[in-house]
Amino acid sequence: MNKKIQISKKFQKPLILLIVIVILTALQPNAFPTLSNFKSILLAISIYGVMVCGAIYPILLGGIDLSVGAVAALSGACTVLTIVRFDYSPEGVILGIFLGLCAGILVGAVHGLVVTNFDVPPFLITLASMNIIYGLTQLLTDNMVISCLKPAGFTFIGGGRFLGMPFPIYILLLMAAVSFFILNKTILGRNIYAVGGNPSAAALSGVSTKRITIISYVFSGFTAAVAGIILASMNQQAIAKAAMGYENDVLTAIVVGGASLMGGEGSIQGAMFGALLVGLLNNGLRLMGVPSIYHTVIKGIVIIAAVAFDIYYRNKNSGLVRSKKETSASRKRRREKRKNENH
């Protein structure tokens, strides 16, 4: 019985993806199942997919990073502004990417330090810094669109192709692999799950919860910066609003992927599944001509459903909610009682 559930659980996620793909194919037989559409789905996923790779770390700790979209815009702006300042030279590209990444790392470090030293709820600090960073990026860009159509070294990151596939997909694969490796093979990863699962027990086992927390926020800032640079390169421009609202897709992907907002539970594989599902959802809605206003409504419903299901399932397992078997048994009892009364 137990084994049966485990097997079906293992195939649950691929099965859901398959069902969604079949439904979309049936609904849009001409537009959906084409190679170019699949490539465009993957390309769209790659931006927030990269963010997901890092944003899952604070969530595994029971925290959250809402600033990923804002950080992406900031990093994109830093990179583009540097390239423009250095007259589109290759050195400018390298320095620009370096500064863009530094900006993300710096923001992450500030988040980590504030969360660990002042005990500010992560939700609050990253919500506030999301607004601060958004404002800062507007200041940096003078609230204008800064174009950057060259050099090829820069535009290749987001717009290039390698072996027939858009280049950002390779970056996504690389980031996912790195993230997977850290979470599953290193002591750091083990400690992240331990701190997220029970911070007191981890601390009494000699785990530096502070260090782990800071590293997690730094990594989240770093991946947001990577995504921001890809996005700037893809759009060949920097703009403060570039990645506004991306945190929604990122969080939806992570939560739909099975991570618990209480910390200690979740995986990169799951989050990537979530990212794919969100990508398919976005794509399907667009193909079917659903007005974009409804997109946020529908995605909101998906996130609520996923979280509600997650919590319900957890409570059921812990015995807080009466399981189906019990209720059916009690229903049966009630029915029998009624029968007896009638007799």
């Binding site: 400690n191 799950y193 029970n198 007191s200 530096s208």
Partner: protein, 506 residues
């Protein structure tokens, strides 16, 4: 049943996962009496209270209130009958005022608007009636703990409570504040309110209570009238005479000359002061004392989890490194009191819970975990400690209490331990596993590991310890280092009745 009996519980039974905690307990309380409930930890006191207040469902038994049979199936049922509990952790809203807290849920409302004036007057009248003085407009979080307790009591009185249960009410009060509480109890008694008083502090019981019920191993072993209550008798009843011969005493043992851990004048404000002791190689030092006497805090300071204000801790003659991690590397280990919240990570499997303290050994200095070694270590721990089920992939949260504790112990056993600090190792654990854990402690000690054991279970403390110190209010009041030590000796020192009657040890 006589007329003045307020509450009568008959043949109450309760089991938790097959273990019978209450065995046909009879209990009654008269109108306007202070009735003390005593018993060792695990005797069933809190279970009885929780059944009475509707927190746990009972397995069997009947309740009579004012002579009528009643059903208590929820907290609300108990409340409706007029049974109120003053909990150890107070249940007030810290940001509301005294008046708001007292009348929470029963505010005076006229057309949806609060009648603040009448509420204030109501509270003032109530305070006058019971001779209490508090500022009705003070915000609760600015009050002292004793004052908050008063607010709790007033809150109970507005609900027309005829029975107020006080669970260790003086645990966090100063002696002056406790005095004040005793006055309140006296007034309540005069107003015909019954009080069920639970405390480990024997001197309070003698002073306050009109009658006393002793529970032992889930059975009501005696109900004493006021003139029958005397310290020796109560302690004997709590411990059980038939056990005196085998388990109730322990033989203290001589120690090796080599001092491993030396604690000198250790102070932590609000927890303990001027604590000094030495522990020798291969010795098990037991620390006795009541809950809140500073035992856990001392262990946490030695482990590095908390800071201390002054004093020194020397390990093999050297000062200790600062962080928990460095102390673990130096050979320290801690088995914490609160297993579920501090001992293990429930969502992680046995494998990872064992590995958590041992990555320095498993990784050999590099960042990557060697999964083979990790699994080998886990299997070794599972075999050594006989963890059931022996599947390393099972989440520790799904194991039974005893096996969870084995995992907590196991993560330290895989290291080269020098000092193991153990806090309440067998709370909520069945007898079989208890014995296994005692064996482990003995094995470790025979290998030269220094062990400091804190326990509220006196039998356990006496069985395992080589030498004992007893704490009271954060100070060492007694050291028991030679000869045979009885439970009475420890209990008396811990509860402050050193000058009681001489106990015949024969």
């Amino acid at each position: 049943m006589s007329k003045d009996v307020l509450l009568c519980m008959k043949q109450v039974e309760k089991s938790f996962s097959g273990v019978q905690v209450l065995k046909k307990v009879d209990f009654e309380i008269k109108q306007g009496e202070v009735h003390a409930l005593m018993g060792e930890n695990g005797a069933g006191k809190s279970t009885l209270i929780k059944i009475l207040t509707g927190v746990y469902p009972k397995d069997g038994g009947t309740f009579f209130f004012n002579g009528q049979e009643v059903q208590i199936n929820s907290r609300q049922d108990a409340k409706n009958l007029g049974i109120a509990v003053i909990y150890q952790e107070l249940s007030l809203v810290p940001t509301l005022t005294v008046t708001q807290n007292i009348l929470l849920g029963q505010e005076d409302v006229k057309a949806g608007i609060l009648n603040k004036k009448s509420m204030r007057e109501k509270v003032l009248a109530l305070m006058e009636c019971y001779g209490l003085s508090l500022d009705p407009d003070a915000v609760t979080e600015t009050l002292s703990i004793a004052q908050r307790q008063m607010v709790e009591i007033l809150k109970a009185l507005t609900l027309d409570a005829s029975l107020i249960i006080m669970d260790e009410p003086t645990a966090s009060l100063s002696s002056k504040e406790a005095e004040c509480l005793f006055e309140i109890i006296k007034t309540l008694k005069e107003k015909k309110v019954s009080i069920l008083y639970i405390s480990h502090r024997l001197e309070e019981i003698y002073r306050l209570s009109d009658r006393l019920t002793v529970l032992r191993d889930g059975e009501n072993v005696a109900v004493l009238e006021k003139d029958q209550i005397n310290p020796t008798e109560v302690i004997r009843l709590m411990i059980g005479k038939e056990l005196i011969d085998d388990n109730s005493h322990g033989q203290m043992r001589p120690f090796q000359p080599e001092v491993v851990l030396k604690v000198e004048n250790l102070c932590r404000k609000g927890a303990f002061s001027n604590v000094s002791f030495e522990v020798h190689k291969g010795e098990v030092l037991g620390i006795g004392g009541l809950v809140g006497s500073g035992r856990t805090e001392i262990l946490r300071c030695i482990f590095g989890a908390d800071r201390y204000d002054s004093g020194t801790i020397l390990f093999n003659g050297m000062p200790l490194p600062s962080s928990v991690l460095k102390r673990i590397r130096a050979g320290f280990g801690l088995i914490p009191e609160d297993r579920r919240n501090q001992g293990f990570v429930p969502l992680l499997n046995i494998n990872r819970n064992i590995a958590i303290t041992n990555y320095d050994i498993l990784s050999k200095g590099n960042m990557i975990v060697n999964k083979k070694d990790e699994m080998a270590m886990c299997r070794k721990a599972i075999a050594q400690l006989n963890v059931k089920p022996n599947n390393p992939e099972i989440n520790v949260g799904n194991l039974s209490g005893g096996n969870q504790q084995k995992v907590v112990v196991g993560k330290w056993m895989m290291r080269n331990l020098k000092v193991l600090l153990i806090d309440e190792p067998t709370a909520g654990i069945d007898v079989g596993v208890k014995e296994e854990i005692y064996k482990l402690i003995e094995d470790l000690a025979s290998k030269g590991v220094v062990i400091i054991l804190v326990s509220s279970d006196l039998k356990e403390l006496l069985r395992v310890s080589h030498r004992m110190i007893v704490l009271r209010h954060g100070r060492i009041v007694e050291e028991l280092k030679e000869g045979v030590v009885f439970q009475e000796d420890v209990l008396k020192a811990a509860s402050g009745i050193l000058g009681g009657e001489a106990v015949n040890h024969e």
